[in-house]
Assembly symmetry: C2
Homo-oligomer: 289 residues x 2
Amino acid sequence: MEWINRSKVLIVGLGLMGGSYAKALKRLGYYVSAIDKSSGAVQYALDNSIIDAGSSEPDEALISEADTIIFALYPGIIAEWIRNNQSYFRPGIIITDVTGIKGAVVYDIQEVLRDDVEFIAAHPMAGRELSGVENSDERIFREANYIVVPTDKNSQEAIEWCENLGRLLGFSNVSVLSPDEHDRMIAYVSQLTHCIAVSLMTCHDDEGLADYTGDSFRDLTRIARINENMWTELFFMNKDKLLEEMDAFINEFQFIRYCIENEDSEALKAKMRLSTERRKAFDRNRSKE
Amino acid sequence: MEWINRSKVLIVGLGLMGGSYAKALKRLGYYVSAIDKSSGAVQYALDNSIIDAGSSEPDEALISEADTIIFALYPGIIAEWIRNNQSYFRPGIIITDVTGIKGAVVYDIQEVLRDDVEFIAAHPMAGRELSGVENSDERIFREANYIVVPTDKNSQEAIEWCENLGRLLGFSNVSVLSPDEHDRMIAYVSQLTHCIAVSLMTCHDDEGLADYTGDSFRDLTRIARINENMWTELFFMNKDKLLEEMDAFINEFQFIRYCIENEDSEALKAKMRLSTERRKAFDRNRSKE
C-alpha cells in the first residue's frame, strides 16, 4: 500500500486506539473502514464521520478491499482473527498492529499468516485514562513514541513503510527495536509504573487523604485509572520480564527503606543525587525532540 | 498582625519557598524583609525587588520591626534560631513556618518560644523540582493545599489568622489538621511518593530507556529530581510514620507481584478496579475545587 490519499485502510478493533488511528488517517485523506464486534462502537464511528464504512462482523467485502489492515484488538485474539479471515486478504499487502507487548504475539501472527502478506509489528506508546472509540483522540500521538518492532522475517520495505505510518500519524519520535528489546523496555517504563500506581492507590484505606494531595501524588496515580482487562492480559503475556523489573524495583525501594530506618544519610543522599542526575538528563533528552 | 497593607513581614530563609512567599506578599502590598545566611540570595532578592530589605545576619532592626515572622528554614534549625533571636521579637506577634513535617518541630518551637509570642504551624503543599530564590514563583500556590497545623497551645485567633494567610497567598484549599494527622498524611501522599520516584529512577541501569518513555514514566519520575539535603532531613524526622507507609506499599506491591506470577487474574483485576474507582473519586474531588 502506498501512503497516498484514498488508499483503503481497514482497522480491526475500534476502541480508543483504533478510533484515534481512524481519526488521524481520515483527516489525511484515507478511506477508513472498521470492524468491531460492538455494533454500537461502529455506529458511533459512522455517525461521527470517524470512519467511512464499518461492520460488526468480519465482513468479506471490507476485508478484501483493504490496502492495509491495522489490528487494534486485545493481543490474545489477533492471531486467531487472522487465521479465520486471512483468506479474504488482498495478496501482497502489509498489515500491522498496536499491541503493547510483542514477543508473545508477533511470532504467533507471523507463523499463521499467509506467505504473500507481511505483518510488521508496531507499538504506539500513547494512551488515555479513558477507553472506547468515543474517547479517541489523535492528539495523543503528539510528543509520543512510536516503536516499529521487526523480526528476522520482516523486509526492509515493510520496516520503512511502518516507520512512515508512525510519522504520518503524528508521532514525534519513531524508533526500531527487536521484540525482546521492546518487551524489556516496556516492562520497565510502562508496566512497572502501572503496577506502582495501582499499589500506591490501593495500599492505604483512608480515602479522605485525597483531599490533601499535592502534585506528586496526583502525578504518580494518574495511570491508576486502568483498563483492568487489557492490562492484566499485557502483564501476563510479558510476565518474566515484568517480574524481573518488579524485583529490581523492590530491591531498590528496600534499600531506600533501609537507609531511612538506619538514618544512613550519606547512602540516601547518594541515591537522591543519582536520581536527580538521571531525571535531569532525561529532561534534556526530551527537550531535544 | 492585621492583614492590611504595609504591615511588615519578615521571612527567615530565602529559598524557593521563602522567595515565593515574598513575591506573593509584596504583590499584595506588604513590606517584606528577609534574612538568609546567603548574602547572594539576599542580594538577588533585593536586585529583583522580591524584598524591600534584607540581611545575611539575624539583624536586630529587621527582626524587631516585624509584625510577623515566617520561617522558611530547614526544619532542624528553626527552634535554635528562635532561641538565639527571640529577644528581638515584638511582643504579641504571631509567627509561622512552612515546614513539611510537624510533630518533630512544632512542639520544640512552642517549648522554647517566649510566652507573649504565638507560633502557629503551617504547611504549604507546593513546590518545584528546582530550588533557590531565583526559581521562586508564587504561581505554585494555585490549585494547591495549605494546611494549618495547630496544637493545644494555639488560640482560635492564631488559627484563623493562619488560614487567612493561606488564602491570601493564593492557595485554593485551606485545611486544619493536628500534627499527628498531618504527619501521617504527608508520609503517604508526599514522602512515600518521593521514595517511589527515586527508586524507580535508580533501579535500572539502562539510561537509554529514557528515549522510549511514555507519559506514565515521565509522570512517575518528575519528582525524582529532589533536593537531597531537605528530603533526607524530612524523611528522618518523620521516620516511624514513613516506614509504616513504605511497608504498607511494599505489601501491596508484593501482592500485585504474586497475582502476576501466579496469573491470578481475578485478584489482580479486583485491585485494578479498586484503584480505578479511587482515582475517579479523587478526580471528582479535585474538580469540585
